[in-house]
Symmetry: C2
Subunit: 436 residues, 2 copies
């Protein structure tokens, strides 16, 4: 049996996980790939650090360039992260004719167009299954499994930290800050949680999913992102009373006007399967015109689930290693010359329904003022709950669900409602999607 | 742009759906495949019959052999069904050097080993994504997306008719016969529903899934099948009271002793995502050693969802059309020479937990007799409910959940319990899986 030689850049959680999986499952993997897969070299910043994997037999170096310049190496795993050194290494490795497998969502979302163009020119493959939703083979599902469809929309829980926080808030009636602190202690959330809770990480992943779903360039800069930091325990409870769950979703939708790319907290009907994806788990719901709705569920992070996707990419490369580049699946699902620059809509052009929560003075006529402002903006109300006043308070919480409207109209309506003397504080609004 | 020519054998629901999808999405599909895909010829038994698709520009014939012998045709779609003519056509088409895409689960489950051996010899591809779980890309997920894993087990709702019946029984408190009659009227179930409700159809699909998951030959004859015809409304209700749902599952599990292949009604905890897959929808839960649990959900039947999977297979073939056969994904996920003949366990060797329902005389000591028989067979009881006697009845229903046991022990225990003079009628037993 021939052997394929791998060079691993970065021996942290993911790199260590990959080395472990390749070793533990080597027999099973060779039976599938038809060739032995050997980790020949690996780089790390500090070689003295304790590893989660056994590095016996692996040439170790602190110099990643040594690995990408080694003519013996067939496939480079870029598991360093970030968009600085990682980008330089990937571009140089492609230049050197190496195939690339990367778990780096930021690198693909921000520099993928350049990387894939160079890879196509050099006739090498760059695979990135592990960059989105960890171990779930969602890139493959969309790129290959649904290739007969016009993808109409997709919606994903693609950040495990955010989903863990929202799940805890609902299950245990806890506050956002409290759960975030626990998530940090458990190692689910970074010391700086901005990327997770503000939707940046999910935005990177959404840019990738949208590109392969619709055949458009990668364009993270056009993704609208809103975090979950303003979601309160009260919102979670009111949503529940209305039959909804709040999830932090990445949504990409193709409309006649253009493409919506948005990450935000979202009310979804509790009977939807994706509404019941809890804790750190991820799931992506994809709607194709032929297949209808399909859902893909699994672990979105962690050493072994991420390694599962990295190794699947390696096997994919090995299985077609000596094929001519014409006989390969295109990087972004669509042929490079068939990528279309369909306009991405601004947030004001997005159409969605809304959950609104406001504090109104508890006296006649207040609701009439609010509802007439909404009506003037052509916003219909689907449901309305006015709570009993809490003793000693002069205002009452009012919760509304609206029908689908243009975000621009909602923005204008909210400004007018907040200006009413009978309304206290600012209005909480959360978008609502039926996903049906 | 080059054009690939398709010959469609069978223009029924699936064939018509494929022609429609290829036409409607031709632009999108060509952007992905890099080549135009043209339906050049199609065969049908009766050319005068009204079709769900437009056949303008397609050469029609009643003679399928004319199509497989046409040197202009690159890919044959076998959508006739059955294992007689379909088998002859597929083998001859392979002999003629054609690539094959088929939706025929019985053909693959029963004759796949022979078909793939011949295809490998002739260097052609035979793809069958649509044979299992309709539009869900589950074959691709297991064969490629999870190739880094040792698959430990999988469990699927892979027959939509059966799931529709069980869902209606639960949601509306209806009886099996009543719902089956409706399913037949709605066209979900065949006039002869045996294949669906007795688990034969699910057994075919399970044989295919197990083969690609574990790298074993296709062996439908070793699948244990039990239908849903004996499930009563009472079982559905008691299961619910215990926190479970009843689903008709296909389960394949790799144990140290060998492989379990079984289709039967199963109690699963209601909080599991797969317990909430309702109506005609399908889902497959796959447990890999690295990735953990992953779930794939979507429509398991119907013209368009099935066409989605057929077209994905066509695009897969087109994308690697001129590659040498060494640079392709192996038919059964594992390289042909790496298929291992791991023993399949008999039903007596299966280990699972049980739900038992029996009618016992309402007097002291009866339960002690029953539980001591179970104890003698090393079967532990997890939960026990004894219902109040219905007025005028001298027996009471007793419901038990046991811990995991060897099926052989349970068979023996049931014979002994049924022989007790204090027990009336036969014992209902349903297997229980936690799937966690």
């Amino acid at each position: 049996m021939k052997a394929v030689k791998i060079g691993v850049l970065g021996l942290g959680t993911v790199g260590g996980g990959v080395v472990n999986v390749l070793k533990r499952n080597s027999k099973e993997i060779s039976r599938r790939a038809g060739q032995e897969i050997i980790v020949a070299s690996a780089s790390a910043r500090d070689l003295s650090r304790k590893r989660i994997c056994d590095t016996t037999g692996i040439h170790l170096t602190t110099d990643s360039f040594e690995i990408i310049n080694d003519p013996e190496i067939d496939i480079i795993l870029e598991l360093i992260g970030g968009t600085g050194l990682a980008k330089d290494l990937v571009l140089q490795a492609i230049e050197n004719g190496k195939h690339i497998v990367t778990a780096n969502k930021a690198l693909i979302a921000l520099h993928g167009n350049e990387i894939f163009a160079k890879a196509s020119k050099k006739g090498v493959m760059v695979l990135f299954e592990s960059a989105v939703a960890g171990g779930i083979p969602i890139i493959k599902a969309i790129r290959e499994g649904l290739s007969g469809n016009q993808i109409q929309w997709l919606a994903g829980i693609i950040n495990g930290t955010g989903n863990f926080i929202l799940t805890e808030m609902r299950d245990k009636g806890r506050d956002f800050d409290d759960v975030l602190a626990e998530a940090q202690a458990l190692g689910y959330a970074e010391a700086d949680p901005t990327f997770d809770v503000e939707g940046i990480d999910a935005g990177h992943k959404l840019a990738i999913l949208a590109s392969i779903a619709f055949g458009i360039p990668l364009q993270f800069d056009k993704v609208f992102t809103e975090g979950i930091t303003k979601i309160t325990r009260a919102d979670v409870e009111y949503a529940e009373q209305l039959g909804y769950r709040i999830k932090h979703l990445g949504i990409a939708r193709k409309t006649d006007q253009g493409i919506e790319l948005r990450v935000h907290p979202t009310l979804i009907p509790e009977r939807r399967l994706i509404a019941n994806v809890d804790g750190v788990m991820n799931a992506v719901l994809v709607q194709g015109d032929a297949v209808g709705p399909t859902l893909y569920y699994g672990a979105g992070a962690g050493a072994e689930p991420t390694a599962s996707a990295v190794v699947a990419d390696i096997v994919d490369v090995v299985r077609v290693l000596t094929s001519d580049p014409e006989n390969r699946v295109p990087h972004l699902a669509f042929q490079a010359d068939a990528i279309a620059d369909i306009p991405v809509l601004s947030s004001e052009q997005i159409k969605t329904a809304y959950y609104l929560r406001l504090n109104a003075e508890d006296k006649p006529g207040v609701l009439a003022e609010v509802t007439s402002i909404l009506a003037n903006h052509n916003i219909s109300i689907e449901a309305l709950i006015q709570k009993e006043p809490i003793e000693g308070e002069t205002t009452v919480p009012v919760i509304m669900l609206t029908q689908t409207t243009l975000e621009k109209e909602m923005n204008a309506a909210i400004i007018e409602i907040e200006a009413l003397s009978t309304i206290t504080g600012s209005i909480s609004r959360i978008r609502v999607e039926t996903l049906g």
